[in-house]
């Protein structure tokens, strides 16, 4: 029993299964596979952001700029496609590069200037969104993508490609975190930065990398978001940072760093997607979903404390 309670992903897995069973019984057409796939696809961008955030939170940091960076790269792509003759791949590349630049900036400010992650990413959150507004132009809130972007729209809108891509990112993140020196170093930094430094880990470089990687992922999510809507919107990604962080924390990653699970984060996003679909089909307001997420967030942290308490007690019992 105590062994089971120590599995980090157990609460969120229970939540997903519980939600699935509940909605399968209560919500009409909930189990329609195409419908589920369609709804999950809308959450692919969240999942991609959540993977990056898992690495950052695992290292003891935080990034609240991901939603704005997503919006920035979406608009960058829209502006390039609509105002120049650049080809689609080039525009996508530029958008990802734009996201990477913001991530790298965050990383430099946190790792080199040793500024607090909350403050740095608060400022880039405001700045990236502001520049996105300005790039779009006065009074313009959405840019229709030109016909040469139809291929992207087709892939993102009418195929499971976003889900596949999100899963690939998740698997890569999971492998990196659980079975590479990179992942072990990140978690080492998250649990005790000074000890990590003393054991020879280049803390600055690792921190820079996690923020830069998250920037790349936010750029990719931005391209995907533009493709799904076939327009680039200045408000794309608005508030995504809160939902993605919530998914990560519900998934069992510890806010103080040192413990992280990509699988848990992806399950957290899945729970949000199931909740969205189920409440939508039952005709329940979106607000109840937000409220449910808030309560779940608080409950999951309380549960995490309980888990640690039980673990600590069993260690003490063994010693005694």
């Amino acid at each position: 029993m105590r062994g089971i309670i120590r599995v980090k992903e157990l609460p969120v897995l229970t939540l997903c299964v519980g939600l699935f069973i509940f909605f399968a019984l209560r919500a009409p057409n909930f189990t329609d596979p195409f419908g589920i796939l369609d709804d999950i696809r809308q959450y692919a961008a969240y999942a991609i952001l959540a993977v990056g955030l898992t690495l950052i939170i695992g290292s003891g940091g935080i990034d609240i700029s991901v939603g704005s960076v997503l919006g920035f790269s979406t608009i960058l792509m829209g502006v390039i496609l609509s105002k120049s003759a650049a080809s689609l791949p080039l525009a996508c590349l530029a958008a990802v590069a734009g996201g990477t630049a913001w991530g790298a900036f965050n990383g430099l400010a946190v790792a080199r200037l040793r500024l607090q992650p909350v403050v740095v990413t608060l400022s880039t959150m405001a700045a990236a969104r502001g520049i996105a507004y300005v790039m779009a132009g006065q009074g313009i809130s959405s840019i229709k993508l030109p016909p040469r972007a139809d291929w992207l729209a087709g892939v993102c809108y009418a195929s499971p490609a976003p889900v596949v891509l999100a899963m690939l990112v998740a698997v890569a993140g999971w492998l990196a975190l659980s079975s590479t020196p990179f992942g072990r170093r990140i978690l080492a930094i998250g649990s005790n930065e000074e000890a990590a430094r003393l054991s020879g880990i280049d803390v600055g470089r690792m921190k820079f990398l996690v923020y830069a990687i998250t920037g790349v992922l936010a750029g990719v999510a931005g391209v995907m978001t533009a493709g799904m809507m076939s327009t680039a919107q200045t408000d794309a990604g608005l508030g995504y940072e809160f939902e993605a962080i919530t998914a990560v924390l519900i998934g069992g990653t510890s806010i103080v760093g040192g413990e992280a699970t990509v699988l848990g984060s992806v399950l957290g996003v899945l729970a949000a997607a199931l909740l969205n679909r189920g409440f939508g089909l039952m005709g329940i307001s979106d607000l109840w979903r937000m409220m449910f997420l808030g309560v779940t967030l608080i409950a999951s942290v309380l549960l995490d404390r309980l888990r640690k308490y039980v673990a600590l007690r069993s260690i003490k019992a063994q010693r005694a």
Binding site: M125, A127, G130, V134, F242, S285
Partner: protein
């Protein structure tokens, strides 16, 4: 044995650089826009504009100095405005104001309880209550607009919002600077464990700080109702980040233990003048968001450099 040279303690107030920045900003605007900037009408506009964010920034400063954060203030503002606004619109102004304040205090106590009794990290506890309270606000009002029907116009007229804001800043500044409670707040932010060993109860002080933050959010709700005469659940979304930005621009350390209400006041001033100036100059108002982002970064880097 030679004594090590004493490090000269700088007597220059740490708020001075940003104060100069604010003055310079105003001077430039006064020159560029002639009397469009420096006149009673525009001053009133700015005062009204700054009121709600200014009032919640005072509570936010105290919260951040304890080493915490309160992401839920805007949601508290919305919920208390809507719950109390219902009474106010029917003419029960006094009861409505009490209900508004009680809602704010209750929400603040909820945050305080989660953070002190359940020992949750403030950023998560208040992120959770942000969701819960914001959705509660929208559900409670059914997305409808609440009308104050002029019952609170006293709070929104002329320079009244600015005066209320300045009074809140003055009281907040005095409490933080002159009272034992204020010193406890700094002590806990500086080193919670040593504060506890010195006999200060972190639980009690934090509880008071989060309750104060909730109460101030409710006061801001009343002023907003007075100014706009209407309120909708989504009106103040994002105010928490504006307040945090003002606090950080004002030189308060996000790590806790350092900062001042005066700095926050200047920070609120800078963001208000920037917004107002952008409109007067005819700049796309949305530039201000980018500029505020940059201002936060400049403030933090200056602080870092100053300390070396």
């Amino acid at each position: 044995m030679t004594a090590t040279p004493k490090r000269r303690i700088s007597r220059v107030p740490r708020e001075l650089p940003i104060f100069y920045f604010l003055v310079a900003l105003c001077a430039v605007l006064a020159l560029v826009t002639r009397h469009n900037f420096l006149n009673a009408g525009n001053l009133r506009t700015m005062g009204t504009d700054a009121a709600a964010i200014g009032i919640i920034s005072v509570g936010m400063t105290a919260v951040i100095i304890t080493g915490g954060i309160d992401l839920s203030v805007a949601a508290i503002l919305a919920l208390s405005a809507l719950v109390g606004g219902g009474f106010i619109s029917q003419g029960n102004t006094f009861v409505g104001c009490l209900v508004t304040l009680a809602t704010g205090i209750g929400c603040g106590a909820l945050n305080g309880g989660l953070i002190t009794i359940a020992r949750m990290p403030p950023i998560i506890a208040t992120l959770g209550t942000l969701y819960v309270l914001q959705s509660a606000a929208t559900l409670y009002s059914g997305g409808q607009v609440v009308y104050a029907n002029g019952h609170l116009s006293l709070l929104g007229n002329g320079f009244v919002p600015l005066v209320i804001t300045l009074v809140v800043f003055a009281v907040g500044g005095a409490v933080m600077r002159l009272t034992r409670m204020g010193r406890y707040v700094y002590a806990i932010g500086g080193n919670e464990e040593s504060a506890r060993l010195a006999g200060i109860s972190p639980t009690r002080v934090k509880m008071i700080v989060y309750v104060a933050s909730g109460a101030l959010a409710a006061l801001a709700a009343l002023v907003t109702l007075g100014v706009n005469n209407t309120f909708q659940a989504n009106d103040v979304v994002g105010y928490e980040l504006a307040a945090i930005a003002a606090v950080v621009i004002g030189g308060t350390s996000i790590m806790g233990g350092e900062g001042s209400i005066l700095g926050t006041m200047i920070g609120v001033g800078i963001s208000t003048v920037l917004r107002n100036g952008a409109i007067l100059v005819g700049l796309d108002a949305r530039w201000t968001q980018a500029v505020i982002g940059a201002a936060i970064l400049v403030a933090v880097i200056t602080d870092k450099v100053r300390r070396r």
